[in-house]
């Protein structure tokens, strides 16, 4: 924005009549650029706004701008009205515009008759003011966005449209995307960034020109606000060479001052005769009270008093911006920088907001004392804000992905991924073992539990949410329940996910009540109004709500979860408030088995001991049982030894670091929306039917978790998540297979005995289930019976198929089908006992 040291000050005359005319400073002050600050929102000064549209000859007037001798003093006055502005700034690059006219005294605005022919240059550079002006004019009038195609050729340019709009709504500024400027005229962009004070001043003049050609009666002063610079500076890297340059940086507001009314023009009244002085403009942060009444007839001494309500003030606010945590290097503390906000920008952000600021970096000298003319050698730096953009990027991108209405996503909310990172991600996603690698990188310090981690990974990636036109919603969030013995690092996993997820909430079941989880209605003690307070689930909307000690939660609290987990809303009907709040959250809960330790004698369901209604809402239920496995133990031992004796970092080079992981996940959630391929769909159907069958195992319906339509939804979600990990737009067959596997593994189904619904610990340990063993035992004994019956020691041999026939005939005590391989196994057992000899497929009794 601007400095007063602008190229043209044709407005001088009207705005600073009378006694002001003689002072060069005041003249500069009222130059168009300086108007910025004045024109914003203030219309109390008729002289100011009565400014006629600039005459065609205004360009010439720019020949006569501020005195070269005190460039910075003039500038800082104009900009901030701050005292002590100048002196030290003398060495700054690219200060105000100057003319090729050597005489500083000729800067009176009324001079503009001067010659039109001499080109005007930006002071200290070879940038011609006319060139810049025409370039800006071209840009404003002719810029069209690339997507507007040729048929729109006769439509107005993007910014002409917005100018008209501004005139219509009587707005005061036009936002100009710096990318557009760059696209249209890279040279102009560079000039603008390097000499923002001057170029923006010209920009404003151009805008005013255009505005007045459209509507000659338009009174407000429209100004330009640049945003979206091509490069964003890090606060840490600000250095003296950035002074007076246009920069853009991100940060978090940590403190904002109250709004300071800054005096712009003062009006004095004589106490003796009642004469009102003309507005006196701030000069270097000071307003000098006229020592005597200015009325010729009065001339009373020390009679002038300030008339507050006729003075003109502008809003000013000082805000401190601090680096966002991710920019702070290890072992450093965050840097801060001051922002100076004016007028409309005031109160645009509050502490805690993350913003991106575009502005001009300035350094200001500080006077030793108000009465001294010496300044300190240390500068105060601040950013004069042009534009503020709020960003809300917490942890993983919270602007979610899985929501259906993402077509409405605003551009500026996108995760900005630079090309290189994107390429890296693409590369990563193409790796054949990406799934394994991702799961390895998840909580690498927690050992084993690989399948659990895979499930959690699916939860992080999530499936696609679907809103059908009919109004049916299908959630994309995956809910996971971990059930396991104490000390199997469930809580650590939970903590880890909590840290990783966007907007995660971590609660412990015991401390949570139903209302604490959902929402409750409270009465404001002061006003007696009822207000809704959000609970953990609502707060973790679009995040992951981690609930520890799920089993210790009261039943009523748990029942509140039913709605949340399927409908993803929280409905409240209490105290006259009927509301439905969004709670699109994934639930990650963990619980101990009933009786604290897993009891192998009880069935899985009995062990988990949660109502089946709730259980079916979990996509994955993991039974975490500690199985002794030498292989993992060895791996653990190796890992720990490596940790201690090698470079700690090299011990896990395989893993992806956590920041990459989170950005990878956010990117995938946002941009990848996989669809089911036909093949995968077929596989899903087939698998589901099979699962239903398994559930219908005779007499076992109560003991195992049967497949419900919910399962097929879970499977779809899981396979979508798996496809997402590969950045694949299609869900392939192997994704579905993996989803089935996860589901099975989670429930330890391989080890579940369908007959009794219990998990066979022996099966986990040895690979054979107890009932299987029993069946085998009966087998063996019946074969033994047959052999005793039919064969003599050393007698003729018998074919296995014959034996099978015999067994089937015998059949009574074996209720299931008998296969040849069963027979073979039983025979092998008998032969090891020395009861039979096997020769090929014949047996002989010995």
């Amino acid at each position: 924005m601007a400095s007063d040291s602008s190229p043209g000050n044709p407005n001088d005359g009207p705005s600073s009549p009378g006694e002001n005319v003689s002072s060069p400073i005041e003249n500069t002050y009222s130059s168009p650029a300086a108007l910025h600050r004045r024109r914003r929102g203030r219309s109390s000064t008729p002289t100011q706004f009565a400014t006629p549209p600039p005459p065609p000859s205004r360009l010439a007037s720019s020949n006569s701008t501020p005195p070269t001798s005190r460039p910075s003093a003039a500038r800082s006055n104009g900009r901030n009205g701050r005292g002590g502005g100048g002196g030290g700034g003398g060495g700054d690059p690219g200060t105000p515009l100057s003319t090729d006219e050597p005489l500083p005294s000729s800067d009176d605005g009324e001079d503009d008759g001067a010659d039109d022919t001499t080109p005007t240059f930006v002071w200290g550079t070879n940038i011609s003011v006319q060139d810049v002006k025409s370039a800006i004019e071209m840009f404003v009038k002719h810029f069209r966005e690339a997507r507007e195609n040729s048929e729109d050729l006769f439509r107005e340019g993007k910014y002409m449209v917005s100018i008209r709009k501004v005139i219509e709504i009587e707005g005061e500024w036009i936002d100009v995307d710096a990318f557009d400027v760059f696209d249209y005229d890279p040279d102009l962009y560079n000039k603008m960034v390097r000499y923002p004070l001057e170029v923006l001043a010209i920009f404003d003049i151009v805008l005013m020109d255009i505005v007045s050609t459209i509507n000659r009666l338009f009174e407000k002063h429209v100004q330009v606000r640049i945003f979206n610079l091509r490069t964003s500076t890090s606060m840490r890297n600000l250095n003296p060479s950035d002074i007076e340059k246009m920069i853009s940086l991100k940060g978090m507001i940590i403190r904002s001052s109250s709004i300071i009314p800054e005096i712009r023009e003062a009006v004095f009244r004589c106490l003796v005769c009642g004469y009102f002085s003309d507005p006196i403009i701030v000069d270097r942060g000071k307003i000098s009270e006229p020592p005597t009444c200015l009325k010729q007839e009065c001339m009373a001494k020390n009679s002038m008093t300030l008339v507050h309500n006729r003075c003109r003030f502008a809003d000013k606010q000082i805000v401190r911006l601090q680096e966002t945590p991710d920019e702070i290097p290890e072992g450093g503390t965050p840097h801060t920088v001051s922002l100076l906000l004016h007028d409309k920008l005031v109160d645009n952000g509050k502490p805690g907001d993350r913003i991106e600021v575009t502005g001009i970096y300035r350094a200001m000298t500080v006077r030793v004392g108000p009465a001294h003319r010496t300044v300190k050698s240390v500068f105060k730096t601040y950013i004069d804000c042009l534009h503020i953009k709020k960003a809300s990027k917490l942890r993983m991108s919270a602007e979610d992905p899985m929501d259906v209405d993402n077509s409405l996503r605003r551009v500026d909310e996108d995760v900005e991924l630079d090309e290189e990172k994107l390429r890296k991600f693409q590369e990563l996603s193409k790796q054949p073992d990406i799934y394994e690698r991702l799961s390895r990188s998840l909580a690498p310090n927690i050992w084993e539990l690989d399948d659990v981690k895979k499930g959690l990974l699916c939860q992080l990636f999530g499936g696609n949410a679907l809103n059908l036109a009919s109004g049916a919603n299908f959630r994309g969030d995956i809910n996971i329940l971990l059930v396991g013995d104490p000390g199997t690092s469930k809580s650590q996993l939970l903590q880890y996910i909590h840290k990783l997820s966007p907007r995660g909430i971590y609660t412990s079941g015991r401390g949570s009540s139903a209302v604490g989880l959902t929402a409750y209605v409270a009465k404001d003690p002061e006003t007696g109004e009822t207000v809704l307070e959000s609970g953990a689930l609502v707060l973790s909307d679009r995040g992951i709500c981690c609930i520890d000690e799920f089993d210790k939660m009261s039943d009523s609290a748990r029942s509140m979860l039913h709605e949340v987990m399927e409908q993803q809303t929280v409905s409240i009907a209490k105290a006259g408030i009927i509301a439905s709040l969004n709670a699109r959250t994934s639930v990650l809960a963990c619980a101990n088995p009933s009786g604290s330790r897993y009891n192998p004698r009880l069935s899985v369901i009995e062990n988990i001991h949660l109502p089946p209604t709730l259980l079916s809402r979990f996509d994955l239920i993991y039974l975490i049982l500690d199985k002794p496995d030498e292989q993992t133990d060895r791996r653990l031992a190796k890992h720990i030894v490596a940790l201690h004796f090698e470079n700690a970092e090299s011990a896990q080079e395989e893993a992806i670091d956590i920041t990459t992981l989170t950005t990878y996940v956010s990117y995938a959630r946002k941009n990848i929306h996989p669809k089911l391929s036909d093949e995968a769909a077929e596989e899903l159907t087939r698998g589901y039917v099979e699962m239903r069958k398994a559930g219908k195992f005779a007499g076992s319906s109560k003991k195992v978790i049967t497949a419900t339509p919910r399962q097929i939804e879970s499977l779809i979600r899981l396979s979508e998540a798996l496809a997402r990990m590969r950045f694949s737009e299609w869900v392939e067959k192997h994704d579905v297979d993996e989803a089935f596997r996860l589901l099975r593994v989670a429930m330890q189904q391989s080890a579940t005995d369908h007959a009794t619904g219990t998990i066979d610990m022996d099966l986990i340990n040895t690979g054979v289930s107890a009932s299987e063993r029993m069946r085998r035992d009966t087998f063996v004994s019946s074969i033994r019976d047959i052999a005793l019956e039919k064969m003599q020691i050393g007698g003729s041999s018998m074919r296995l198929s014959e034996l099978l026939e015999e067994l089937k005939k015998h059949g009574g005590n074996i209720n299931t089908e008998i296969h040849l391989h069963d027979v073979r196994k039983a025979v092998a057992t008998l032969s090891s006992e020395g009861f039979l000899v096997v020769e090929g497929d014949r047996i002989k009794r010995v």
Partner: protein, 589 residues
């Protein structure tokens, strides 16, 4: 002009200006250099290349501040407590036709608009404090330096008048002004009296000197030309640079107008230079324990396992005595004292070994605890102890917190330098209610114990800072608030009277500990296999062993072998560790 050697010590700014003039003549262009070093650092680095030269420079502390002169070279040893960001200053300006520089000085004023050409350079501001918990033996006595220094400066004053006349500019008048303002001179006599008095009270020769009671003197260090990654928060650093007083800032405090108040960085307001001296750093180095030792050198490691063994034995004897002849406890204590975080993977800090001695009650604590903590004070450079009482937990501010009102990081008890030893005394803990502060503090401690990280509260977010603290916990039962790596029931058999240690022995022990801590460590291929097998076997027999337990065994093995001055793990030491662990398990039963 005197020789450069003399210049560097007492008239460093002269040397700076001299070299600037030299650099200018050889083509240094201040206009384009952005203040890059023109050889000053090399000049000083060369001059102070050896320890003896450095020891000539007075150390700035609360006693020496009374007599050291502004504009002279001083040393400051401290911990970086806060980083105040960058400061832009008028680095070079043209006085008529010649360039002058303001680097390494606080000359602060210009007549407004008088300088025709001026370059803005930047420097970093670090707020340093004396290392928390620093023990007395680490302090360099500067008594003799003081006398010599006063002589030197006296000479210098005369000389400067004679020789350095061409150099005198506003700086000298500033110095004079500062002198007249009185701080260095007037206080000098007072300082002399008090410092000599306090020194006579301190029995230097006794083995266990009393705790230090120096009022802490913070220092605002201004860094030039140093890459940002070089220095980190909580680093213990020795800065060598020019001490300045900033008279302007003092004037400033009473003339703050509204405007400057809002934009000002506020540090000058909170840190009047009378309380916080400014140091313009020329060279700096990070301090390790050995820098505090008198001999300033470590034991030569590979050649002399015998020496290690001898010192280890004597130290063990001392520790066993302290612990009432509990041999196992003293073994573990030694391993604990040698622990140090030497790697981090995610949340796992490899190499930490916190020790929890249980079965201690208030009475035994008063005997053994005090003895032990006194002994540790004489052995380690930085020690601190925290009494774990409900009241303390509820009121203390353990974690550092950013105060945005004044834009400063408010130190907490747990903002400590790496390598600090921390004693937590839980025997005092009574049943009671923790308020929210107490819960937060307990969490901080737990987090420190488990991950060796402290959360710094930046109000809008928290930031974890890695630390390396040895934690020793005394409690009656196993401490559940502070889950230490090692829990050991303490079984003293008798109370021994304190041994008197000669300063030489103490020095040798300190040296031994410092050396052992710094030793590298590795493992042979074969033994690696053995260790792996042992770990697998252990886990097969006891399923409750987690990765932490296995990790702890390896840490102990490392400490054990290092304590014998060896850099590779031997089977013997590995078995010693397994045996120790077995004994510990037995005691726990």
């Amino acid at each position: 002009m005197g020789g450069p050697a003399y210049d560097c010590l007492t008239n460093p700014l002269g040397a700076v200006r001299f070299s600037f003039v030299n650099a200018l003549s050889s083509g240094y262009d201040p206009a384009s250099s952005v203040g890059k070093d023109w050889g000053v650092v090399d000049l000083f680095r060369h001059y102070f290349s050896d320890e003896s030269a450095i020891s000539q420079v007075p150390v700035l502390d609360s006693s020496s501040i009374k007599w050291v002169q502004p504009k002279t070279l001083v040393r400051f040893r401290g911990m970086i407590q806060d980083m105040l960001g960058n400061e832009f200053y008028a680095g070079a300006y043209k006085d008529d036709t010649t360039w002058r520089t303001n680097k390494y000085s606080d000359v602060a004023q210009f007549p407004e608009g008088s300088s025709t050409e001026m370059k803005v350079w930047e420097r970093r501001l670090l707020y340093c404090v004396p290392v928390p918990g620093q023990n007395q033996w680490t302090e360099c006595s500067s008594q003799e330096l003081k006398n010599r220094f006063l002589d030197l400066t006296g000479q210098n004053r005369e000389k400067r008048v004679r020789v350095d006349e061409e150099m005198t500019d506003s700086i000298d008048s500033n110095a004079l002004e500062a002198g007249l303002n009185g701080s260095p001179f007037k206080k000098m006599k007072v300082g002399e009296a008090t410092s000599s008095a306090s020194e006579s009270q301190v029995p230097q020769s006794s083995g266990i000197p009393p705790a230090t009671s120096t009022e802490s003197l913070p220092c605002l260090v201004k860094m030039y030309d140093s890459p940002e990654s070089d220095l980190k928060l909580n680093d213990v650093v020795e800065f060598l640079g020019v001490l300045t007083f900033d008279p302007i800032v003092m004037m400033d405090t009473d003339s703050l107008d509204e405007n400057s108040d809002d934009l000002s960085e506020a540090e000058s307001v909170q840190m009047p230079s009378a309380k916080v001296p400014r140091l313009h750093c020329l060279i700096h180095r990070k301090l390790e324990t050995q820098h505090f030792l008198r001999g300033s050198s470590l034991l030569p490691e590979p050649k002399s396992p015998q020496i290690f063994k001898e010192i280890r034995e004597s130290l063990m004897k001392y520790l066993t005595g302290l612990l009432g002849n509990d041999h196992i406890a003293s073994q573990f204590l030694l391993l604990h004292l040698l622990s140090k975080v030497h790697g981090r993977v995610d949340n796992v800090a490899v190499g930490k070994l916190s020790l929890n001695l249980i079965h201690l009650n208030k009475e035994s604590m008063s005997i053994f605890g005090t003895q032990l903590s006194d002994a540790l004070k004489s052995l380690l450079p930085f020690t601190q102890s925290i009494p774990l009482t409900i009241e303390y937990l509820n009121t203390a501010s353990l974690g550092p917190k950013k105060d945005y009102r004044i834009n400063r990081l408010m130190p907490g008890v747990l903002q400590i330098a790496d390598g600090t030893h921390l004693i937590l005394d839980e025997t005092e803990l009574q049943p009671g209610t923790l308020n929210s502060v107490g819960v937060e503090n307990a969490n901080l401690l737990k987090n420190l114990l488990e991950c060796q990280k402290v959360e710094y509260d930046f109000q809008y977010y928290k930031m974890e800072m890695a630390t390396d603290v040895q934690m020793l916990i005394f409690s009656e039962g196993k401490s559940n608030i502070m889950p230490a790596d090692l829990v050991l029931p303490f079984q003293p058999s008798q109370v021994n009277s304190l041994e008197v240690i000669t300063p030489e022995t103490a020095e040798a022990w300190r040296c031994y500990l410092a050396t052992c801590k710094s030793l590298p460590h590795s493992i042979g291929q074969e033994l690696q296999q053995v260790v792996e097998n042992d770990l697998v076997a252990a886990r097969q027999t006891d399923r409750s062993l987690g990765s932490q337990d296995l990790s702890r065994l390896l840490t102990m093995a490392r400490m054990m072998s290092v304590s014998y001055g060896e850099t590779t793990l031997s089977l013997e030491h590995w078995q010693m560790v397994l045996e120790l662990e077995r004994l510990r398990k037995e005691r726990l039963k």
